[in-house]
């Protein structure tokens, strides 16, 4: 247990702890906060994310999503699979309101993103942590600063930034690398930094767009294990991937896209259809 994590436990025990049976961990505050929030704000039956009849046509006429229906309950772990160009990234862009659906509804935590005023978009994005294949880290900032950046630019008071950053760095296992810059890190460590940054807002949903696309198989497994652990803490995870081996081995929910259609949505599925 890193010393920084040890301090965080004390801070987090002040919060209502809903899961008494679990051993103390550096991540308890994330879990308790996520579950606590879902109890005050959302009814237990309401899914975190609902897509209804969603069609996305880009301005150039390209139909990237067609009549997509998808319901994702809180706490789910979903693989989004399909060949390149199937529409996975487009779906993710709709979820973070980077694009707006041409038709249909995208409802995140009860809010219809199509009718969300522009000013509210940043607040929605803070409920989501996003991770990309290319990490998107700032090269001149250290690991610690990269993670803190997400809090600084959203107006988090100084005093709250330090403990939150230390806590997520402990969770992803980068406490010792906190002062290094991305170029001094391996690909896996860079991706863990990006995951820490995605987590630092205590999001309800982590979306990862091919997070292991640039990593070798062993490191890919490491990243996957981290995402599974985050999911166990109550955070919903959606991961777009090409990695058939991982998807088939884990037997989680699989949503397969092809040319914009959802061609399969199977709990406990493999990468490819098994009949």
């Amino acid at each position: 247990m890193p010393p920084i994590g040890g301090r965080t436990i004390q801070a987090s025990t002040a919060e209502p702890n809903l899961i008494t049976a679990t051993p103390p961990s550096t991540t308890r505050s994330i879990r308790s906060r996520v579950l606590g929030r879902s109890q005050d704000q959302a009814s237990p039956e309401r899914p975190l994310l609902v897509l209804h009849d969603v069609t996305m046509r880009y301005p150039n006429g390209k139909l990237a999503l067609r009549d997509v229906d998808l319901v994702i309950p809180e706490g789910d772990f979903v693989f989004l699979v399909g060949p390149s160009g199937a529409g996975k990234s487009t779906l993710i862009k709709l979820l973070i309101r980077d694009e707006v659906a041409t038709r249909g509804e995208v409802v995140l935590d009860g809010q219809d993103l199509a009718h969300l005023p522009r000013r509210q978009v940043p607040r929605i994005r803070r409920k989501i942590g996003i991770v990309f294949q290319d990490f998107k880290l700032l090269p001149s900032k250290s690991v610690w600063e990269n993670v803190a950046f997400a809090l600084e630019v959203t107006g988090t008071p100084r005093g709250r930034i330090g403990p939150a950053v230390d806590r997520v760095l402990a969770l992803v296992g980068l406490t010792d690398q906190a002062q290094q810059v991305p170029s001094q890190l391996s690909g896996g460590e860079q991706q863990r930094t990006a995951i820490a940054r995605a987590l630092v807002h205590d999001p309800r949903l982590i979306i990862a767009d091919e997070p292991t696309g640039n990593l070798d198989p062993l490191i890919s497994w490491e990243i996957l294990q981290l995402l599974l652990r985050i999911n166990e803490l109550g955070v919903t995870v959606m991961m777009a991937t090409h990695n058939a081996e991982v998807v088939t081995a884990l037997r989680r929910r699989v949503v397969a896209l092809e040319e914009g259609w959802v061609i399969r949505d199977e709990v406990g599925g493999a990468y490819h259809r098994e009949d």
Binding site: P122, I124, R125, V153, T154, G155
Partner: protein, 294 residues
């Protein structure tokens, strides 16, 4: 609110130094452009003053009949002074006219032939200065209509030609200044855009982690203002440094002109600082905007 401003200022400061080469290049460009703008503005101001000076020299001279009575002249003089087109009227009696003539002959180094005359051959006159030289015709006609006036020198055609030239020069000066201003605007806005584009990834990350538009925009706006301020100080520094060597020339050149150096300097400082900070802010605002609108 205060913490937001402090945050934006500190991010602007960091942003400036993090990419120091780019920022200093932008500042240098800003300084050069402002210097160019200031140079053209000084030329334009001098030109306008010169033209005004030339136009103010226009006066209508009416020679009086030798038999005109002093009280008639006074009546005529006050009638002319009452005209709205007239700025002032001076009565030049024959003695003054002769003295002036002699002085001008001496000044030109020519022999004064009037001393061979036994009487003063010159006429007394009224010299009328105009509010606006384009009114020369109305004033000339009014004088010609008076029986005490012997003749009025016909300067109307000459004045027309001078006015044509001065108006062309005025328009040309303004056009050049406006064109230079637009060029400066584009170069500065583009330079700042480059500095913002170089940080597109940072802006992208800010958007993705849920930063509001204000948190993204204001650090860049402050940074643009800072670049503008530094560029303006640079330009003013250069102007101050070259002011001494060329001031001798400037004083000689401008001495005859109705220029006030105090207000010229003050206007120049306001222009350079205002244009620098204003364009810096405008440039960043526009550049960041393209990343915010989605």
């Amino acid at each position: 609110m205060l913490s937001f401003v402090l945050f934006s200022l500190s991010r602007a400061w960091q942003g400036f130094w993090r990419n120091a080469v780019m920022s200093l290049a932008a500042t240098a460009t800003m300084g050069l452009m402002l210097l160019m703008l200031a140079g053209f503005w000084i030329i334009q101001t001098g030109l306008l003053a010169g033209l005004q000076f030339t136009e103010q020299k226009v006066e209508v001279v009416g020679y009086l009949q030798p038999n005109a009575q002093a009280n008639q002249i006074e009546v005529l003089q006050s009638r002319l002074e009452a005209m709205p087109e007239v700025a002032s009227v001076a009565y030049i009696d024959r003695d003054i006219a002769l003295a002036r003539f002699r002085a001008s002959m001496t000044a030109q180094g020519r022999e004064d032939l009037t001393r061979y005359l036994d009487s003063n051959p010159l006429y007394a006159s009224l010299e009328v200065k105009l509010v606006d030289p384009s009114n020369v015709r109305a004033v000339g006609d009014a004088m010609r209509a008076d029986p005490n006036i012997r003749n009025v020198i016909n300067i109307e055609d000459l004045v027309d030609r001078v006015l044509t030239v001065t108006n062309i020069l005025r328009t040309a000066g303004t056009v050049v200044l406006v064109v230079v201003g637009i060029i400066v605007l584009f170069i500065i806005v583009n330079t700042i855009r480059l500095a913002v584009v170089a940080r597109a990834e940072e802006i992208e990350i800010m958007r993705l982690v849920g930063a509001s538009d204000a948190f993204i925009r204001w650090p860049f706006v402050f940074e643009g203002a800072f670049v503008g301020l530094l560029g303006a100080l640079l330009a003013l520094g250069v102007l101050a440094a070259v002011a001494d060597p060329i001031s001798g020339f400037m004083v000689d050149f401008f001495r005859v002109l109705p220029l006030q150096f105090g207000s010229l300097t003050r206007d120049l400082v306001v222009l350079v600082l205002g244009a620098g900070v204003g364009l810096g802010v405008l440039g960043s605002w526009l550049s960041v905007r393209t990343y915010l609108i989605r």
